[in-house]
Subunit: 266 residues, 3 copies
């Protein structure tokens, strides 16, 4: 028997009862499903951050996983509710960009959640996490066909990141996320570096961010002496800036949006 | 096969192991049950806040749900341990008011937890969440009859909120809870407003709290321009004061206990 | 059918997706297992604190429980990955002392995680929680024989606490942990006190920590008037210093490493 996984990302925090209620709604409708919290610490309304969390985490889950993402400042307004089938997984949430990782798959199919059979009634004006998104996720977990959820949406709200800039012998990206350890995750993925510098060894690259110049890509955080700033290819396949045993973001004021440049060592 | 839900509310926080141990005790005794965390961020000993969380969340869970509430500054003293059957659900916790939502049901039946068969032994003096309340919740999940838990208690500790005040063309309640978004939840429920102002439209009501006068009840948080203070009928059926895209509690110093008055527009 | 429990302790925090990804890996490989979070609020790299959490919590879980502990500043370096069979349970994590509670069992057997069949591939350099430790824990939950995980390790990294000091009519330990309530947990266990003061009543002992002298061991936190500093035998079987209705650590600056002395009342 299948036990589908439903991941759950929100800006609900954990001091109130909102996360628990969503779990309850899913368990009632889909007792075999597993709800896995990704995070509920998204700052209120920070759609970009939630989209990044899904982008970083989704590939670690099996095919068939349903990603429930509720960062929804427009709840109760005319914003649409969506489900997206992409990358052999499903993404459920408001049409405000939070589902960007699913939508960025060229084969993605988006549908508007319009069939009340899959909602919880009465549908409130202020808590669609409970009344729309969680029940739809639970119905997907119970193998309700995706196409029954509602009509195809051809113009879902997109949230493309700034493109990488390719300069003379250089590639430039940005800091996208600061994690709990203070590590600064960039949008420079291993494939992009390989394309920009085909065959280059990790020792031959130089990374610059703010005032820091980092020679070579380290194999891991612990590879250099404590206090060293390192560039590492992180676990979600993107270049990270880190400090061995420290918080590089705090120490050097590195934040989301900062430019990161990589070139070949002179 | 049934998969009963056990909700879990406490002041344990999540930095220690206390929450995990309670989950473990339940899983060992009732492997089919689902433990759903409501919140563990209740300030230490804040029985009123925990009681409010249960009041706000319980109706979102199915019949048969068992609500485990461990805010228990009197653990190890003479305070009684209770289970309450009410509203087609169960409530398990200390007799200090935290179970008020169950007890406020006129048909509620409270029983004193006195049958050691349903405890974990040895029973410590300081952690009845692990040794008394969690095992009793797990036994209820395993369909142990409620009446076997112990004798009826006729005088459980109650925690009635201050009653609504009906003035001349006005109804007055209070702020009961500030949530993660800074929204201020009142004890003015939709039924009370309907009784006080039968047939009145949402546009015809005026809400006053502190220095703020709010005309009309908005349909949702996003219904007005960012920065607007709105009154909204929230997802747990009570009037809320909110700021579109902001934190009304922080911005205007609105806190628990503040008076909220509603009247018809002049 | 068994539903093994996997406890999970880390320094991952809960604002990122790391904890959720580990849950996902386990659910995919061992759908019947229950993952119970102990805590993810270990300060980054604080191996001692994580080891203490396991020491305090493990005995509350049933035989067969698998304790997954990922505090791993050396991930990707030469530090070994271990599984330990001890106390009828399993402990899985890096070889940096975090598994001390398992290793302190004289009958403990430690094995090096070297068999790639039980890993997730490709194994990253920076997230062995996802790629090594979680999959191994899941395989243990699926009853893969412990001995298949890899060769015996005879010199695992140990983390012995400072020994108790027995003076003239006195026993001296230390504060090991400050919990969410500000209670200060010591390494003085009930057996040690019984050995040092055989047959002594709880009223006859005097506890000194910092400027505080506490006469008698209280039965519970609520046993004395609010504001009283008490010594209590806590739920994990060790002496605790607490303030009734308050935070003794904050109020009197009691911290980890402080000396605690117990003697018979004069």
């Amino acid at each position: 028997m299948t036990r589908p996984i439903i991941t759950f990302t929100s800006d609900f925090g954990t001091q109130d009862w909102f996360v628990g209620v969503v779990h309850g709604v899913v368990h009632e409708l889909a007792p075999e499903a597993r709800v896995v919290n990704l995070t509920h610490a998204i700052p209120p309304g920070d759609v970009e951050r939630a989209a990044f969390v899904l982008e970083a985490a989704a590939a670690d889950f099996p095919a068939g996983t349903i990603h429930l993402a509720v960062v929804d400042p427009g709840v109760g307004t005319a914003r649409r509710a969506l489900a997206v089938r992409a990358r052999e997984q499903f993404f459920v949430g408001p049409d405000n960009g939070v589902l960007e990782h699913g939508l960025s798959d060229p084969a993605a199919e988006a549908r508007r959640l319009s069939d009340g059979r899959f909602f919880r009634h009465p549908v409130s004006r202020t808590f669609h996490g409970r009344d729309v998104f969680a029940p739809v996720a639970a119905h997907l977990a119970r193998a309700v066909p995706f196409v029954e959820l509602g009509p195809v949406v051809s113009d879902p709200r997109r949230l493309p990141p700034p493109p990488l800039v390719h300069g003379a012998g250089e590639i430039e990206g940005r800091i996208r996320y600061i994690d709990r350890f203070g590590n600064a995750l960039t949008d420079l993925r291993d494939e992009a570096l390989e394309r920009a510098f085909p065959g280059a060894s990790e020792e031959s690259l130089v990374v610059r961010v703010g005032s820091q110049t980092i020679r070579g890509i380290a194999r891991s955080y612990g590879d250099r002496p404590v206090g060293t700033v390192v560039a590492v290819m992180g676990s979600s396949g993107r270049l990270e800036i880190a400090m061995v045993g420290g918080d590089v973001s705090l120490r050097f004021g590195i934040g989301v949006g900062d430019h990161v440049r990589v070139r070949l060592r002179a």
